[in-house]
Amino acid sequence: MNALRPKVLTLYQTKAPNEASSLRLICLAPAVLYDSFLFLLPLLFLLWIGFWTVDNYRPVPGFSLSNYIDIFQQFFSRSRYAYAIIQSLWVSSTAILGALLFCYPLAMAIAFVVPVRYQRLAILLAIAPFWSSYILRLYAWQMLLNKEGIINSFLKGIHLTKHPIEVVFTQVGTRIGLIHYLAPIMILILYLALQNIDRTLISAAKNLGATSWQVFWRVLLPLTRTGIVYSAVFGMIISLGDVLSGIILGGGTGKSIFGSLPLFATMILNEYAASTNLPRTSALATILIFIMILVLIAGTKLSHAEQ
């Protein structure tokens, strides 16, 4: 057999096509060209347009800091962008915390309680909401949660509450929408992380006398840390950029402990809808990019620090 091997190898080498570079070029060209013109170019353009001005409702190319100066002047007064940014960070981070507290036990229950042959079905059910329309799911939540909605009318019907519970048009509503949006993906990530744990480690810990709590705290949690950090950072970025939940369930300026303030993403969308001032919107979007980069850096720092 060993004598055969070199022969086979040379056979491959002689027969392997040598036009490789042209094929490689032709295969990669569409993706690279497409992304250069319709991904990189728009992004660079966005950064540039932020420095344009508007004259007579038309964007005028140039290099002026007026958008940024105006935005930073309104940071704490009038538009109060700083408050919106704080509201965004607060609502997103608490929503992510809630999402983790909801999803991790569910992923655990699917991985360890559901019989193996039904796990696939359970995962399929868990990611089912993801395949239905996000905006309609939010509409459905509004229908369920509003003052005279299904849940409140049900609770009143069985005489559990006298006054309706107000969730819609507060940031609690926004968070419910976000958690429901993120849950399918987070459950999938966390389930795969839990599945990848070597089961012998768990039984070893148990044989050595660990309680269920110790198994969870000392084995499961550390071994799924990457999955947790990934899903949290990923969820945070999505939440910061999400406009629909804040508008449909949060009512645009939903109440939180910081007061009735809009989310920054909502603000960007509404400002554009009201003014169609693209240079200014671009400047605001650029600021959002910087906030997200800061969050990413903080996230990676945090995960390294824990290590």
């Binding site: 027969k15 032709i26 319709l38 353009f45 905006i135 629909l244």
Partner: protein
């Protein structure tokens, strides 16, 4: 001995708690969809309990109004095409990334995934900035062009999973038997990738069909369905939305069956094969 008797008890309790939690968790996940479908058949304009009677009038409203259906039509034109274009571009790119070793391959494969990591709100503003300069904003074509950008990463990711499972020998065997590179690509690699390609198309279609912010910025007077629903909600909140939601839900059930048949086996196989490689 005591521990041995203890353990099954706590374990059984944990199991019961697990089942209760599963029940509640899935309740939370599925409640909106369930009530969306159910209340599309409810008589009263304001969905609340108690139930006032069954009706199909919201479906009639939907059909006679036409705005949402027009938008549904727009979406059903744009999303399949954008998904197809992204899948074709993605297939060739993942083939090259999977087969060739070259300088900058790692960087390129990361770069090609990046578009999906940029939040759509930012991409929406960016796309509008560029497209409005070249007068391509405000049409279905704009939605198509921009959606392809965010769908290419999805396609590349899924097709790469499938290609990574392909034994390298079969392509080499084709060359040895005299196939040119292109023949090997189309007659060996392409058939092998079909599950990945189909899964990529399905997932891309779903992303595009559901995408709101980018479409809101670039679609103008030819709104896609989520954009039309958004503006519809600003003026009237009535169960027509439940009706269109139920129709979409039916479409997504069909997609889900497709996913169950294509995508999940793909992911599970890849995990199985990586485990085999480790051992």
């Amino acid at each position: 001995m005591t521990r041995k008797q203890d353990k099954p008890l706590t374990e059984r309790l944990l199991k019961i708690a697990g089942w209760i939690y599963l029940f509640l968790g899935f309740g939370f996940l599925l409640l909106p969809i369930f009530s969306l479908v159910l209340f599309s058949f409810e008589n009263s304009r304001l969905p609340s309990l108690p139930w006032t009677g069954w009706t199909l009038k919201w479906y009639e409203f939907l059909l006679s109004d036409g705005r949402l259906l027009e938008a549904l039509k727009n979406s059903l034109i744009v999303s399949p095409l954008a998904a197809a274009a992204a899948t074709v571009i993605g297939f060739f790119a993942s083939y090259a990334l999977n087969r060739f070793e070259f300088l900058g391959r790692q960087i390129l494969s990361v770069m090609l995934i990046v578009p999906i990591l940029i939040p759509p709100l930012i991409m929406g503003v960016a796309f509008l900035g560029l497209l409005s300069r070249i007068n391509l904003q405000g049409q279905l074509l704009s939605v198509f062009l921009t959606h392809v950008v965010i769908l290419i990463p999805t396609a590349i990711a899924l097709i790469t999973i499938r290609l990574a499972q392909m034994p390298k020998d079969i392509e080499q065997a084709a060359w040895n038997l005299g196939a040119t590179e292109w023949q090997a690509l189309f007659k060996v690699v392409l058939p092998w990738s079909i599950p990945g390609i189909a899964g990529a198309w399905l997932l891309s279609f779903t992303f595009s069909f559901d995408e709101f912010v980018i479409s809101w910025f670039v679609s103008g007077f030819q709104p896609t369905l989520p954009v039309a629903i958004y503006s519809f909600m600003a003026f009237n909140l009535d169960p027509s939305l439940n009706a269109i939601g139920t129709i979409i839900f039916a479409i997504s059930v069909l997609l889900l069956i497709g996913v169950e048949l294509l995508l999940i086996p793909l992911l599970i196989e890849s995990r199985a094969s990586t485990k085999q490689n480790v051992t």
